[in-house]
């Protein structure tokens, strides 16, 4: 399944493979994945390609070389392994949302519990307003194997502030401008899913007022973190 890439694309693919491989380590680190489940992909800059986890390999086995480079139809064009069985969903998102640079998928426990009930996570704590700017919405139930999952992700996230969607009875997909942002969204999604779940076990939890959500989201998106690169 290997096709020779032009040298510049090959070099870019190599860098993306390394970045995607490295960021996969965050998934077990934050307890978002079990056995071989979950995957990260990212666009290869300057190409119509993306790199994604191979199917069914354990997180310990992943290397940059084992990442699979696919075109935007989800067809592998470079790599020794077959790509994630979720590749079609990732590819659909890249085709439909040009602003998205990376996609992450997990079955993280608390987020998937909300997904199993088909219930959106209300925006009830400031950390959630910061990162998601809204409730985390539920997408439709869709079977794997075609464009249904990708279509459901895009229909739910387009025009929504949240970079995370709870796919009904399935798990989480997150998007980001790059792989780190999409992984962060997956990590924070599980964190707020857990906190709001536990909060509700003890009694009613009110969502934050919309004006507070707006103020928090605006500030976090524009003023948090380092404004410039540091040594």
């Amino acid at each position: 399944m290997t096709t020779a890439l032009p040298p510049e694309a090959a070099a870019a693919a190599e860098r993306t493979r390394r970045e995607v491989c490295d960021l996969h380590a965050e998934l077990p680190r934050w307890n978002l994945v079990t056995w071989t489940s979950g995957n990260v992909s990212a666009r290869v800059p300057g190409t119509d390609l993306f790199a994604i986890k191979p199917s069914g390999l354990s997180y310990d086995e992943l290397t940059p070389a084992s990442m699979v480079v696919c075109d935007l139809d989800g067809t592998p064009v470079d790599g020794e392994y077959g790509p994630s069985s979720d590749t079609a969903a990732h590819a659909y998102v890249y085709r439909a949302m040009p602003e998205v640079g990376a996609v992450v998928h997990t079955h993280s426990t608390y987020a998937t519990a909300w997904a199993a009930r088909g219930e959106a996570i209300p925006c009830a704590i400031t950390a959630m307003a910061d990162e998601f700017g809204a409730e985390i919405p539920v997408g439709p139930f869709a079977l794997i194997g075609g464009d249904d999952i990708g279509r459901g992700i895009v229909a739910t996230l387009r025009g929504h502030r949240s970079p995370a969607v709870l796919m009904r009875s399935h798990g989480v997909f997150t998007v980001g401008k790059d792989a780190k942002a999409a992984v962060k969204a997956a990590v924070m999604c599980e964190d707020v899913a857990r906190t709001v779940h536990i909060a509700r076990q003890g009694g009613p939890v009110e969502p934050l007022p919309q004006e507070h959500v707006d103020a928090l989201y605006d500030r976090y998106q524009n003023a948090y973190g380092q404004r410039r690169q540091h040594p």
Copy 2:
């Protein structure tokens, strides 16, 4: 308790011991076991033998040499230690289910919680349909020390898609074509037991429609992972 095995069987037993020993590390890694509880066994290919964890040793102490080789009556034929107190149950399964190559037993928390209530885990999320293809069923209460546990496992799993059974008020037994498959089933059983439990804490959870379970199970069993060996 050591009997001299023919050289070919001895070599096969050696390989199985190593594999079984290595896979025991997955049980504490995925938080399925406490102190010395839990065990993995696997058939020795080309023989009527299986290798199993020694009784009461901690996971840190396990070595290939400490694994105990037993015949299909559960009688130790090679090894320095006495075998797991669950050996009779493993042996019964091997006698009754020739297609089974390995057996795993744990008291993992969430699965055992379902077992304590005697309640099957409904097939409510796609990851569960993929791996189990059905609800995870409950087997009868049975006392340790004879064939009752083994009989209960076999009566519940024979003809069932699920490779896992929740033995009433006890814990989980899983089976697989090899040790890795049985360990994976034990890991995924706890994962879905936890997710569905947490989902239900927040409100009613509907099982997936049967046709979706069938489609997901069929695809996962036949299309997931790598089709061929890779370097």
Copy 3:
């Protein structure tokens, strides 16, 4: 606070200090303790002394030399540090229960949650029947600083199969013939406290019938593990 011990007692104290120090590592390993809380003590064989954790040191700082040797009144007789603030309770148990060789104390989460409600843990799973042979009972509320805690432990555990007691609104004390047995009881106490708690969240949980508890307890105490020492 150091007194010169006779050479034989000093050598025995040295061995006990090492054993007690080493077994403290099991408490954070199994997530039973937070910050500096929790402690293990064991009798020094052939003496009327025991070794216990120093007060307020973190688990990372513990060394055999930092363990404090006390007489059975709880008075330190050897060691650079002051002993655990729970020393009086340990000492009372050693004075009142000559069969006890070691004592462990933790505030492990799930066991302490049962203790906060003053509710005994029903014997509802086979692993609990194996290790505890009964419900895990609740002892009285008692303030630290005198013999009240020790008296409450002894009054509750004397004549009871369970090596663990939930001290009301406080935490767990376990006893054992040696330090390893007492630590194992603390580890298993938290494990069954968690499993039975989670089981009950999903619906009613029936205790095991007494005859099953008796059969399981008898077998586990007499047939589990290795009968002889191994290389």
Copy 4:
């Protein structure tokens, strides 16, 4: 943003930076933080300065040099990075409470769950009476970016025994005489938030009587730990 400090202040700032950097490691160790959230600050002795975490850096990246030294208005006076977005709240506490030597902020799961409901944690277990001497109170909802959070912390903690406050719908702030004490309070706050939450899931939990809380608090604050320095 670097200003030259007088040599003595520079040396003190260097020591504080190292201490604050080291204590940040306790936050992920005790699972209090997710991704880059949470922060520790401490006064630089003999100056009107404090050192705090840089904004948006991961815990793996922190070094003493990356800590940011600020004046008591929260303006950075030394450091390569921009300070935590919570710096204004820390600075307000230092200006208003001269007895406070350090401040810690987290969104730890269970404490934040109580904060999301705006419910104080009742003082129901002895470990909580020891460390907090009272319920853990709730402070007002306040938006980030001015003095509102700091004002809410100070209004709630001034005259209260508890070194921890649950800021409404947000998370935890703790104070201490030094960085270790404030970090300990954050660790223990999450521990008791979790234990009391889980206790209440199983039925009603009574707070301890006030005279018991008083006795426990007095003893722990005055008799726990080592009275003198040890080698």
